[in-house]
């Protein structure tokens, strides 16, 4: 059931990205181009999604298990540090360069767009590099405590 629910969530999420036009990088860049001819659509996508999300997460917050009886695993990190902001800035630069963020890129891969495949492969390499860097850091920290 957990796997089926994940498949359906991903599917509905992807359909939402197609319907909203956000699977199209040109439309995303039209939103990010404040100084040009601005397309506010992305703001309404966020508003629609958050309107539903507010209700869902307020229900989720009051529960310790999901409706499928799985542990409720909501993020508990609160600190706003260099890692969070620096990482988000890097992401924003990449987002502004191509108009793709992770979800729309995967949907465009499903549309058979070769350029999206290139982007998605590079994105996976970037994610893999993060793990390599993190593991190296952890090894150094173990080898030389203090």
């Amino acid at each position: 059931m957990q796997v089926l629910a994940a498949l359906l969530s991903g599917l509905v999420f992807g359909l939402g990205l197609i319907v909203s036009g956000m699977a199209n990088p040109a439309k995303v860049l039209g939103f990010l181009d404040l100084a040009g001819r601005w397309d506010p659509s992305l703001a309404l996508v966020m508003a629609g999604a958050i309107a539903v999300g507010l209700v869902a997460f307020s229900v989720a917050r009051g529960r310790t298990v999901s409706f499928l009886d799985l542990d409720m695993k909501l993020p508990d990190a609160r600190q706003i540090d260099r890692r969070l902001v620096g990482g988000s800035v890097l992401f924003g630069v990449g987002w502004g360069m191509a108009g793709f963020c992770p979800g729309p890129a995967l949907v465009a891969v499903g549309m058979g767009e070769w350029k999206a495949v290139i982007f998605a492969l590079a994105m996976l390499v970037g994610m893999g590099l993060f793990d390599v860097f993190e593991q190296r850091k952890a090894r150094i920290a173990c080898a030389a405590p203090e």
Binding site: L15, I18, V19, A35, L68, L70, P75, G92, W95
Partner: protein, 144 residues
């Protein structure tokens, strides 16, 4: 600021946004997790017992969405102007940045703001700000 009224699509944007919200709601209420796409994919790099299947299923749902969409309507063709070099550089930055920043447009932007998380608000302001500046430089700074 000039609004491009021809490009602006308020109703599809709102409808698609509601679908995205419903997807995030399903995921948290059924699976007990935040629908953060970079986090769902990133977790596959450090698989723990029992989570590879649902992570893969979520990704397959996203990739399979166009195949389901065409059953109902003609698929809109995306316009991808970036060249291959830009796509590779952008992909690397998005991959690294979303992992260091612990989230992307879905995890911080949609779910985080829905949870009223200040941390996600900071992340969203950071990546949106960086996106605005990047597009400004690419499109409006003559030397570039």
């Amino acid at each position: 600021m000039t609004i491009d009224w021809n490009a602006f699509t308020p109703w599809p944007a709102l409808a698609g946004g509601l679908l995205i919200g419903i997807a995030a709601a399903m995921f948290v209420l059924l699976n007990g997790r935040v629908a953060g796409i970079s986090g769902v994919i990133g977790g596959l790099f450090r698989p723990t017992k029992g989570d590879v299947a649902w992570r893969t299923a979520f990704v397959l749902g996203l990739v399979g969405a166009p195949a389901v969409y065409v059953l109902v309507a003609a698929l809109p063709r995306p316009t991808i102007d970036a060249n291959w070099g830009t796509l590779v550089a952008a992909g690397l930055l998005v991959g690294l940045g979303t992992r260091y920043g612990s989230g992307c447009t879905s995890g911080h932007g949609v779910c985080g703001l829905s949870r009223l998380s200040l941390r996600s608000l900071a992340a969203t302001l950071a990546f949106m700000g960086a996106g605005f500046v990047t597009v400004f430089i690419a499109r409006h700074v003559p030397a570039y």
